[in-house]
Symmetry: C2
Subunit: 482 residues, 2 copies
């Protein structure tokens, strides 16, 4: 993680995007650096977003028939070794426990980088018959990957995530689950985070170690780089063969089971910062904002006697209809200071109440996203505020979608490809012959990778590979990425 420094002022986004991101996260108390390499502390303001993400995504996970469970943090090395492709994919990133109390362990324990191996072993004990299928289990947990280059939320040694692990009777059922989850992620991210995504299949190079196929949702951050927001893997029978997950089918014959796994992580919080933030700071969509409304009483005259009681009453009214409100009644700060503080912290809507507003039974509402100011009568204020919040949620998505469209183009020459990637960035659609060599050379020369092969593009496309000019049946989406 970058070296620590005291953040008093946030570097403007237009000046240095990367510095702006790091400054903002610490200045707004979303997170802080921990004193260990690549680790962070998620502070209450940041964790509140994760709680909202958890609640909203968990509802969707359960509504689609899944249940939660908890598997161990440690995985014996032998379990990872059973599956060499998987071990090789993760070995450089594993933190190893070698001592318990005063004793050296006979076998090293991996701190889970992901849980396919330990869950596969347990499933082999639980799955015996078609009656036991499907198994639809999800886990909310911490995982550890010993990363070389880290950045708060985007890539940290430890992060929080959910990982779904399912078992099915047939390939078709596993594939349907893989795509159902991909679509659940797309809907969740677009609806709740107000971030539009592209979705599709990853190439063989980019897929998960041990998967048959990996699917992902990808979004464009406001610096034109792509961020992988979530993945859904069809694991085929790979882990079932390694861990011997077999069931008696309807014809009393033993079959290896078919599996999927899928996850999203605290990285989504970084995406919110980078997709919606501006020079004044964070901009959170109301659906996941820690506070949706901040009420600031104008502290002049006898404000504690005259204005504050109305602010308190307003808070109660809004909270009663489920709106998350913070009333900033601190007397050691001025209203002006509070305005810019909460602007920087990205609260979707500010409500100011001063003596004149009390007299007129109103509040002044200021939207964070477009700074629009409007007078709101306190009669039926609950419905009005809900309406404004819904409007902000929709606007943020529309704005991000317009940005994505502006920054997505199709190119037909490598010259053009390189120029767009270098100067404009964004998603670049280009034909690709499917060879690993072209993919690797493009990455080497431009730092752009294939983010996804869109599902609808997988068939019936014809063109020439942007790199080798050979016949190509795949219109892939390239970008530089985090």
């Amino acid at each position: 993680m970058e070296e620590e420094r005291l953040v008093t002022q946030v570097t403007p986004k237009s000046e240095d995007f990367s510095r702006w991101y790091l400054d903002l996260i610490r200045r707004t108390e979303l997170a802080d650096y921990a004193p260990m390499k690549g680790m962070m502390v998620i502070r209450p303001y940041g964790y509140a977003i994760w709680e909202n993400i958890q609640r909203l995504l968990d509802e969707r996970i359960k509504a689609s028939g899944h249940v939660n469970a908890y598997f161990p943090l440690f995985i014996p090395e032998g379990f990872l070794r059973k599956e060499m492709e998987h071990l090789q994919g993760f070995a450089p990133e594993v933190a190893w426990v070698t001592q318990g109390g005063a004793d050296e362990l006979e076998e090293r324990l991996a701190v889970r980088p992901t849980s396919e191996a330990i869950i596969g072993f347990m499933y082999s004990k639980w799955v015996k018959s078609w009656r036991d299928l499907p198994v639809l289990i999800n886990q909310w947990a911490n995982v550890v990957r010993w990363e070389k280059v880290t950045r708060p939320f985007l890539r940290t040694t430890e992060f929080l995530w959910q990982e779904g692990h399912t078992v099915h009777e047939t390939y078709d059922e596993a594939q349907a689950e893989t795509l159902r989850i991909l679509d659940m992620y797309r809907q969740f991210v677009e609806t709740e985070l107000a971030i539009p995504v592209l979705y599709g299949r990853k190439t063989e190079q980019e897929k998960f170690a041990g998967a048959l196929a990996t699917y992902a949702i990808e979004a464009l951050m406001s610096d034109g780089k792509a961020l992988q927001m979530g993945t859904s893997h069809n694991l085929g029978q790979h882990f079932a063969r390694v861990f011997n997950i077999r069931f008696e089918d309807h014809n009393q014959s033993l079959q290896y089971a078919w599996q999927t796994s899928w996850g999203v992580s605290t990285r989504l919080i970084g995406a919110l910062v980078m997709a919606h933030g501006d020079d004044s700071g964070l901009v959170f969509p109301p659906a996941v904002a820690p506070f949706q409304v901040v009420i600031i009483p104008i502290s002049i005259g006898n404000w504690k006697e005259n204005t504050l009681p109305r602010a308190v009453e307003l808070r109660s009214r809004l909270e009663r209809v489920g709106i998350r409100v913070f009333l900033d009644d601190r007397s050691e700060y001025t209203p002006g200071w509070k305005f810019s503080e909460w602007e920087m912290r990205g609260v979707p809507l500010r409500l100011e109440i001063g003596p004149r507003d009390v007299k007129n039974n109103q509040a002044v509402a200021v939207r964070r996203d477009n700074k629009e100011k409007l007078i709101v009568s306190l009669d039926g204020v609950e419905a009005k505020i809900k309406g404004i919040l819904d409007g902000i949620q929709a606007s943020l998505f529309d704005k991000a979608l317009a940005f994505q469209k502006e920054n997505t183009c199709q190119v037909s020459s490598y010259q053009e490809f390189k120029s767009v990637i270098e100067n404009k960035r964004g998603f670049v659609q280009a034909f690709w012959c499917g060879s690993e060599e072209c993919e690797a050379r493009i990455k080497e020369e431009t730092m752009a990778t294939i983010r996804v092969i869109p599902l609808e593009e997988e068939k019936n496309q014809k063109g020439k590979c942007i790199f080798c000019q050979k016949e190509a049946g795949t219109l892939a989406v390239f970008a530089r990425s985090y």
Copy 2:
């Protein structure tokens, strides 16, 4: 953890309590053994209870002004070393990470056994002024303690818990917080888990390594042994001095801060099993039961056409008012099998619907706790079921309280003390002079420890120490414990 064996039948509780506990947990799929020493998998049926506990306790934690955050899993050894008392308390139980990827680490990292050290360090960065206080932060997390003897839920190498860590300006505020949390735990456990507790202070021997004073809630399990259900520590300025948590007070002078920490864990699930379970299996209080109601359609005749639709409708009606319902419509099992299966799994209320019930617009309700059977008309069934569930919750508490009272006695001779501890068990109140030696000798000779010194007993008591016969001002509560 005890060796694995296939559980087809559960050992009766009256025959072997310990075997009954282990059999029941695996047979009802609350948890399973993991293939690593002392670790378990919390299966969906068990994890659903933890989710209910989390939701209900988190509401109370937040209602009292606390917010959640997330601190790192790893703690550098040097941080633990800074506080020798704390390190010595936990060193034998620490799992150490010594390798990251291919590299040996320069400094070992402890997998957190508890988080005072890392949180103390972060607080020293965040707390500068009285304006920053109080800090009222809680964390839901996994922790690891390398235990020698383990038992699912009660003592496992890894467990899930919440740990609150607060910072205050004065001793009085920290002490008030410590006792406020103790009372929050008491209310939570008695109200939601239907388990009555004793509460009070721990002795110096039994207190948390590094605390000024530890307070605990203790409950009696149905075998007469005590279980510590939660602890709340007044940490004094101990960690503040070690980690240099200082603030500028109202007079611009620098002061060390006062702290508390407190936690409950997945051990509470074990308590539910041991406090309420009987020879027929688990008995869950409705407030935290995974399913509060199981509906079993009687599968005779054209049940799928005639009975099942009414069962489906009943499920919807109950779910609409927030009742957690499972409709067991599997055709591969008989109603009789389902009755005993769900009885064993502890669902508070069973609703049977057969052809006659369809005709009479009714269901047969059977309470799990007392096996009482009653006919319930489907007119206004929602309110009736809610009423029955409330009744079950109250009955379970009353029954457990009666048990606790029957099994609590005051003794005045060491002879009597030993006899009760050996034969009847339960809570034994006895005067204690306060010396560590008497405490240690009693433990050695009887395996009984001082569970708590009740708060109201701390003053104005006079008697003779049960062991040494010297003047004693403390009426302590002894028990054998888990």
